[in-house]
Symmetry: C3
Subunit: 347 residues, 3 copies
Amino acid sequence: MSAAPPTAFRLADVARAVGGTVVGDGEALVSGIASLDRATLADLTFLASSKYSALLLDSKAGGVLVSPELADSPGRCRNRVVVQKPHEAMLALLPRFYRMPSRPFVGVHPSAVVDPTARVDAESCIEALCVVGAGAVVAKGAWIGPHCVLGAGVTVGADSWLVSQVTLYPGTEVGARVVLHAGVRIGSDGFGFVYTEGAHRKVPHVGRCLIGDDVEIGANSTIDRGSIDATEIGAGTKIDNLVHIGHNVRVGQLCLFAAGVAIAGSARIGDGVMLAGQVGVAGHITIGSRAIITAQSGVLKSVPAGETWGGFPSRAHRATLQGYAAVNKLPDLIKRLERLLSRDPTA
Amino acid sequence: MSAAPPTAFRLADVARAVGGTVVGDGEALVSGIASLDRATLADLTFLASSKYSALLLDSKAGGVLVSPELADSPGRCRNRVVVQKPHEAMLALLPRFYRMPSRPFVGVHPSAVVDPTARVDAESCIEALCVVGAGAVVAKGAWIGPHCVLGAGVTVGADSWLVSQVTLYPGTEVGARVVLHAGVRIGSDGFGFVYTEGAHRKVPHVGRCLIGDDVEIGANSTIDRGSIDATEIGAGTKIDNLVHIGHNVRVGQLCLFAAGVAIAGSARIGDGVMLAGQVGVAGHITIGSRAIITAQSGVLKSVPAGETWGGFPSRAHRATLQGYAAVNKLPDLIKRLERLLSRDPTA
Amino acid sequence: MSAAPPTAFRLADVARAVGGTVVGDGEALVSGIASLDRATLADLTFLASSKYSALLLDSKAGGVLVSPELADSPGRCRNRVVVQKPHEAMLALLPRFYRMPSRPFVGVHPSAVVDPTARVDAESCIEALCVVGAGAVVAKGAWIGPHCVLGAGVTVGADSWLVSQVTLYPGTEVGARVVLHAGVRIGSDGFGFVYTEGAHRKVPHVGRCLIGDDVEIGANSTIDRGSIDATEIGAGTKIDNLVHIGHNVRVGQLCLFAAGVAIAGSARIGDGVMLAGQVGVAGHITIGSRAIITAQSGVLKSVPAGETWGGFPSRAHRATLQGYAAVNKLPDLIKRLERLLSRDPTA
């Protein structure tokens, strides 16, 4: 993530690293990776699809990763590395060109406030101005970025990374290799009130939040604790920015939730479910495994496993699309229909 | 909220506490509360409705709170406490089984940065790494969690709780017994610009934000200050996570706003209004007291008191539902209609 | 933004400051500005439009800014300052009546943690408990409020203001005169994963985030870094609270994005584009310059420059409105149509 790449690579070495072959000058040096329209002579770029061939024409790149069928695409840059899957090759090369984020040191920064009863592994990193509560456990290799707050009894698993200004409410359990981006809040009280004697009285929230291994959660997302049971996010699930997950929700493994999604309390989400941007899910319903919900949909009833639903209220995607198409035809149709009906006095 | 409940209770004592009667072994001990499917022999559970009777069959709980008509429901656990309202009884028992969140100490943590002109009550708690600005006032019993920032001239009322990493912009007034969850921002500048001479020029925001008594605001929600007048949240109103309230908005008492709601500037919201998840409210309109707006609706014009509205653009819920139903019928109808029209050359 | 205005002004002086003329008592003193219904005898108020004349009747203000045609509007307050544009005059007066936010001091607060390799201009301000990483650059006049985290290699331009608890991920570049409100996160990893061997594997994000001059971003909004290229926000663009902007998005100059907007990865937004509240924009599409998207719309395909679009899926605003109107007519029409069809056995 550092701005300055460490060194330069010969195209011949790039080709060897990704199992490709050089067309042109294998001695050409590149020291960064950039898109077709932004690359300079010092950059490697890639042409992943013929859709972008036009951008190759004028690209100033020093080298281009191309697939075999695009090896001869016209373009200013004649130094090419031919490889089966240029996009995948580029992803594989990134860690060679750029330094990935890593712990700046091992140990506890002197400005951090760590309760004496917390158990912080000697090979973890607690950055500046963190607060670690009583009985909290931070495992080996964990990296707690600046300004994080770990409440009492929290556990953070091995090699997890809390980027910055993350709040873990008391009792939260975070698994191994989890990434929590800046401003994530986990374990806040659920939105539960009972109206009695002229006031909304708060339902105590004594449940917790359990975040499985390999989960990633985007900036400023919020996950409420359970009222009695735990709110759970299954292993390998990835959640984008500004997502809300209500109390008692159980999310399965390997789900993908895009930005702006909101899931109401006690919903059950299976494994491998994909929720597109700004989707809302009502409380107490179930979304079956591998279901897909299209963008901005509002899901009010349970969705069977494997189906694609959309719209508001959501139903099978195909039906929703037909509904949209029909609405588009409607204004014109209504005109014709009204003319017709006007001639039939009995209608 | 602590993970470890303090002690165990006899079912006979549980029954006495909630005015119920024991069926089975009153000497059985329980030390926690859990849902039917998760309870162990050490847990008390509850059967709130016959809808969940199936879950009782195999529940491993050590005791069950049940209503009189379900006292004999079949189930592995025969130790029961019969009570009129099992769910309410369970809520009343929670504070006996679990330690509720409370101030960890009284006074100011040495790492906090408190302006010498701030007036902090001796019986309040300012946790680690807080910043308290000039002239700020923190009342008796208030609990300011770690990493909160209280701007100049802020006031926080008695027994209020700012959980963690809350920002109160200068001049914000927070009432008594208020709960502000992690990442709440109150008093940020409203979104007001005037386009002149080729730029969006900022409208100064000199109004403030007034938060009434007994308000609760969820994690990462934001409330803008007024441009001239104050933005106000009435007493007893509860706001969920990731909610946005624009400048100059006046919200009445005892409202409930679910997660993802956004209210544009200068809207007026009456008392007891319910906004479901992801609802949007346009600027300068009025939502009458006790109105209900259904999930994901976009409210573009004022809503009379007591009505239920929904959809986009929102109108009376009944009309919206009829519209949805009609759209569902539409594709088929259009086919039949087109056939009909095709036979009438004048239509 | 301070609660107490510094001093009082004679209405005659107010009139001189805005090029207006006094009707009534030019010696009357006012020391604050308030709306018609809230003003006291110590306040100046304004009547911007005849729409609000009724509120003038009972206003207790000590003076009123009015336009020439409303100079004689009936109302309790007879001391008036007549001016061509009362609202603009009021905005111009605000900085005379109220102290605008400004740096509380110059230098670095002793509680801040600043890397020795960071270059912090002697005339900037780093408030309490900030963290400034290796190689970061803070320019002259910049004001970094309490609890901000500036990652390694970040640059903050002249006279920019990070209000509080802002996170700038490593490598982020912020221009001059930028305002970032509390809880803004810039440069978080984009939501990019490749599913291989039973897991969603993270796509490295080595691009950065570039924020142009004069940009303002609202509380708790998030902007992801680019995967390879930069995510860019053009000069003079203003973004409201709780907005999400995905990786690789390029936003032009002078745009306005209201609260709750979400823009998916690699979208291109032209200059002067207006996105109303809660709009969603799909990835990889283009919204042409000066286009306007109405509230809560979902934009799934590219929008030509200068057009107004709305609805889901979005299309030209006019067509969308016709669709809504048609749906409203539909339930009744369907009844009549079904009657008609029922009499035609062939339809």
